[in-house]
């Protein structure tokens, strides 16, 4: 089964195509989406065990020799991200059954979600820089459809801005690939890495590295390039926001991580210092935003920005603790952001508003929701037994090892601000005098809270059992820190 590493990309794609034929049959769409996601999950878990036992898997399509065909590469980094993406999509789809509404379900909502997952998984797995551009476009086009689906006034207005920013960054991506091709003469990522090592990273390659940072920084919401994110993400309905918040910026982070650990590793003093400074500024900007708003969605959206900064800070350190910590934190952040967005989606559905000042006293009527939210909030901030702790601990340890004392202090202080921002939601929404709620359907509420609860439980398992995940994470950071493992797997003679 050498095609195993293609299954997490092909299966969602296949099911999305099948779904196009059942536009009006919502029950069939729901069932097929869940079946497709379960099968993809099984395939990705099998793939993960194969990667764990046999090292990096690579497959050059069409049996061409490696630098000449399109290579797909599954190392521990990509297979972990692929598996997590599938799991999160599964629970968000379950949540969508209740909350997205029949009108949207009839207009290709589920196919779009599966196409988005195809693009995300493809971008995580590809070993070819132009193919990565194509998979970016696949996921972006699906996200354009999802962000505008429904056609409310606000959605139309914000999706124009979202699409415009992404069109510009895609054009920049193409231009950057063109420049890289003119210097290196190849688009295969392993081959690019070899060629850059041969010519010893002259100045032009460093310029291209910064251009890549610009391109992926727009996708991943890095400091001066995150301006589009708060407005655009607040527009679509909650499950779409959860999907975007958990998956889309992480693709940008992954692309930065991949290029900055595989290509541009010979002049760390320029590229990685820049990444280091920008990630610190990203954390600060996110912290300011998270404290500034009284709107549930905006607080959580700025928490995405903070997490982007923390992960990229871990990557910029380029030592083992930092990289392992970044991987730990990346997976944690995908799970916990999915859970938190679903939980605040339920809060918004119950209270009918996203303004903190207009809610209160939910603990008296919806106690389980309150406890779930509290656990997820502590997990996000990184209170020890929960999932955010190990990653941040390793990143801070790596920062001290690398001598970046101020960086680690800012990371630790940012945890306090994250905690403050999410606990503020808890205090305003769950404590105090109950406000009058519109009558909600208790059955729908119970059905919505199940996927959110399972995600919270997953994050608890991930935090409590972090010992089990250590071998996987250290495998991932080993591949990132030793590009030769990746190159040998692709360019095997």
């Amino acid at each position: 089964m050498i095609n195993l590493l293609l299954l997490p990309i092909i299966l969602p794609f296949f099911f999305a195509i099948i779904l196009l034929f059942f536009k009006e049959k919502i029950q069939i769409q729901r069932a097929l989406t869940l079946i497709g996601l379960v099968i993809s999950f099984i395939a990705s878990v099998v793939l993960m065990s194969v990667v764990k036992d046999n090292g990096v898997q690579s497959l050059t399509l069409g049996s061409w020799p490696a630098p000449f065909g399109i290579t797909m590469v599954s190392d521990m980094v990509s297979v972990l991200l692929v598996t997590t993406s599938i799991v999160i999509t599964f629970f968000i789809v379950m949540y969508s059954f209740i909350s997205i509404g029949k009108e949207r379900e009839r207009f290709y909502y589920y196919p779009s979600v599966l196409f988005l997952l195809t693009g995300v998984n493809g971008a995580f797995t590809t070993g070819d820089i132009f193919n990565m551009f194509v998979f970016f476009e696949v996921l972006l086009m699906a996200s354009y459809v999802l962000i505008v689906l429904g056609g409310e006034k606000k959605q139309l207005r914000e999706s124009i801005k979202y699409i415009l920013v992404n069109v510009i960054s895609s054009a920049l991506f193409v231009a950057t690939i063109a420049l890289l091709y003119s210097v290196i003469g190849t688009v295969n990522m392993a081959d690019i890495s070899v060629k850059i090592t041969e010519i010893g990273q002259p100045g032009i390659i460093t310029v291209i590295a910064v251009l890549f940072l610009l391109v992926f920084g727009i996708k991943g919401a890095l400091f001066p390039l995150y301006f589009w994110l708060p407005g655009s993400y607040a527009a679509p309905p909650m499950p779409v926001l959860a999907l975007f918040g958990a998956l889309l910026t992480k693709v940008g982070i992954y692309a930065i991580t991949r290029t900055y650990t595989l290509f541009f590793i010979h002049d760390l003093s320029v590229t990685h210092e820049l990444l280091y400074v920008l990630s610190i500024l990203t954390i600060l900007a996110g912290c300011i935003g998270a404290l500034a708003y009284f709107d549930l969605k905006h607080i959580m959206i700025y928490n995405i920005v903070i997490a982007v900064g923390v992960i990229l800070f871990g990557v910029a350190l380029m030592n083992e603790s930092g990289m392992t910590g970044a991987m730990f934190y990346l997976i944690h952040d995908m799970i916990i952001k999915g859970a938190l967005f679903l939980l605040i989606g339920i809060i918004i559905a119950i209270t009918g508003t996203s303004n903190l000042r207009q809610m209160g006293g939910l603990m008296k009527t919806h106690a389980p929701l309150g406890w779930m939210y509290l656990i997820a909030a502590f997990g996000l901030a990184g209170i020890p037994p929960l999932s955010g702790f190990t990653g941040k601990l390793l990143i801070v340890k790596g920062a001290f090892e690398a001598g970046h004392v101020w960086g680690s202090i800012i990371i630790l202080a940012s945890s306090l601000i994250v905690l403050l921002s999410v606990i503020r939601i808890f205090i305003y929404a769950f404590w105090g005098e109950p406000v009058e709620l519109k009558t909600t359907n208790r059955r729908a509420y119970r059905k919505m809270i199940i996927p959110a609860t399972v995600l919270v439980v997953l994050s608890i398992v991930y935090g409590v059992g972090s010992e089990w995940f250590v071998p996987y994470m250290s495998d991932a950071s080993k591949v990132l820190l030793n590009p030769s493992l990746y190159i040998d797997a692709v360019l095997k003679e």
């Binding site: 132009f130 551009f133 354009y144 139309l156 207005r157 124009i160 510009i168 054009a171 193409v174 091709y181």
Partner: protein, 113 residues
């Protein structure tokens, strides 16, 4: 030849940036069109403008143009074509819904939508 192409691509990028920074929706979309033209020409130029014959196998021809950039451009063209079609319809819908094509009037937050 590459030098001339670089100047032209620079002018295309300049015009694209100027148009994208304007207020009218239609000018913005013209800007994205120019931007993708610039990017596609950049791939072609950066692949090198050498080679005397098209990359088609033929008897006795040895000096081919580099086929890879042409394939990359073809991919990028259809992608940007799809996205442009989507944006045009989106702009049309937005114009119908908001009754304006002025980006400055498309602000708003939750308080006043």
């Amino acid at each position: 030849m590459e030098f001339v192409m670089s100047i032209i691509i620079g002018i295309l990028f300049m015009a694209a940036v100027y148009l994208i920074l304007s207020r009218s929706l239609l000018r913005i979309i013209l800007g994205t069109g120019l931007l993708s033209h610039g990017a596609h020409l950049l791939i072609l130029t950066m692949g090198g403008l050498g080679g005397t014959s098209p990359p088609v196998l033929a008897e006795g021809v040895t000096d081919y143009a580099d086929p890879l950039p042409q394939a990359l451009i073809l991919t990028a063209i259809v992608i940007s074509f799809g996205v442009t079609a989507f944006i045009l319809v989106l702009f049309y819908r937005t114009y119908a819904e908001h009754q304006t094509d002025n980006m400055n009037l498309m602000k708003g937050n939750d308080e006043h939508d």
